[in-house]
Amino acid sequence: MGSWNIYLGTALNILVPFILVFTQSTQFNPRGYFAYALLYVFLSLMPPVTGTDFVIELVSLWMLTLYMALVIWIWNRVHHNSPGADMSIPEILSKLASLVLLLIHPDRKEELEEEFGKLMREHVARRQSFSAMSTRDTELENMVSTLLQRFSYMIADYDWHSELDTASAMELRRLSSFLSETAKYIGTPSQRDQMEHAQELLDSMTIPEGRIRIFSRSIIHMVDFMLHTAEKDPSGDRRRSINWHGLMHEIAVRFSSESFEMRLASRLAIVMAISGIVSYLIPLSHSYWIPFNAFLLLQPSSEDSSYRMRTRPIGTFIGCIVEFAVYPLLPGLPAQIAFSLVMISLMYCSVPGTWYHPIFSTCYALTMASMTMPGTTAIVLRISYLLIAVLIVFAVNRFFLPMRKTSQFRYSVKALFRFHNKYWDIIRRGLQAETDLSISTDILSDFHMYYEDCLSYIRENDVPSADRLEEAMIILWHMFSELEQIHYLVRIKSIQSSETGQIQDLIIAIQKDLYPIIRGEDFPDLMRMIHLQRPDIAYVMNGYLRNAERLLEYRDAIPFL
């Protein structure tokens, strides 16, 4: 369809790369689009001319896909890979049981943080992709994510150590035992006993109101919820529904001119459209090398693109020299094919983006091209087309939605505040009706990913006021943990219906003072309002506002304020 005329071709060159990047890539998996988009680019290099061509191309691709499935299956049988080395839910629960025991030993907090950090990083990486289907298993995954976030509440800071006494240590041991047993029985007929055990633990908890009590009850409630969900019949998943709420939420987040996905998708679409048009208008052979090179030169960040725009011409130029020297010495078609296969094998051994990687790909491409045209012509065209591609990508990177790492960092910091605001919206909705756990879990996962990304950027780059900024990040994390605890209290109906209106007003007032920029004018009044509420809610909200006040001291360090 793309080869019928230039308008259709351009439309496809805009739509296909845009949709692929928008749906497959994220800031944390920036090259998620690459394999699919490269397939599209390859297919556009061999547009079918006749119906027979179309059928042969389709059949050859199908055949190779089945061959690929077979080879991967054999490879995994030989290497004993199981699909994904991810931890199962029982394994995560067992791990949490051991981490709860570490909470009782303040001297082992470094070990606790390290072990929990490993668990969080692994689990955050498993966040569901763009269009999640709601099934029993996805619901359980969401609950595990929430469970981990609730656990992080205890690692955010150690002020609760002053509450640690014999009774609370005993409670934590009971919690650890409960988690270990649940790990054994979840998904089995005995899980009913665990549900009863959960209720017994909640009814018999006598430690006073405080962080340890809130933490223990929130963990038990979430595990109880998981046990009820695990009881559901998975055959009901045959009527799998698309998680429309989650999908619309994802689309809304991505559809902003500041979002990573939008910027990369737009840049790639423009690059492919322009290079496609230029390639169409140039009346010379092999002009498809222009969009192909442009695609390879365009990278998720401007800095990476600039790097490739230096290394690719160097490698291509050297590759042309090698080809010029070697090709005339190759005696016939079999030798030429053998040489091109050796070159492409060396290309697969090289790291993409380095200066030597294009040497081999250039030799392969030129050897193939030289079978149908004079070698020197192919070399001149190769270099010329590469330079045109470099110009196109340079212009788009410079003038159209450029993505520098510093801009991305500012956007990420802003996003952390935006997530706070969104979570407050969810909590407000939760006061009136049951909220979709998948959306709050997605926000939790997103927050942690952006948080880790910001911290890495601060540590690896020369950022002004880096120490103060890092402290501000940690305060934001504490606040987010407190937010999650508030959500838990709302979900278990800790709020009386007579208090709902007051809490709503309180939340609206807090949101006004925190987003889009922090102001502290109303904090004293807000703290007085909280004093009137239930002790558990008051405890957590007070903690949140105290941290928000602390954050005000770091205003000068926060980039977008």
Partner: protein
């Protein structure tokens, strides 16, 4: 003596480079094997002008083969998008 030292240095650098190259070659062998066998499959069945399909599918192979076998449905989705 200086020349001997230079030759030793060059030999040492060459040995290090060779070691890194062989390690990279071993890592890339599954992808190279897949590409070459796909290439010849297409060359023999359909002809030289369609061998670019081998490059296209090899991109998928290189990003997926370590991830696990996956499901039949996953591969069917690739075939029938």
């Amino acid at each position: 003596m200086g020349a001997d030292l230079d030759i030793c240095f060059i030999e040492k650098r060459f040995a290090e480079w060779m070691h890194r190259f062989l390690a990279a070659f071993r890592r890339a062998m599954p992808v190279i094997f897949f590409f070459i066998t796909s290439y010849f499959l297409i060359l023999l069945l359909f002809g030289l002008q369609y061998t670019i399909a081998a490059s296209a599918i090899t991109v998928f192979f290189s990003s997926r083969y370590r991830r696990g076998a996956g499901s039949v449905l996953g591969y069917l989705i690739l075939i029938f998008p």
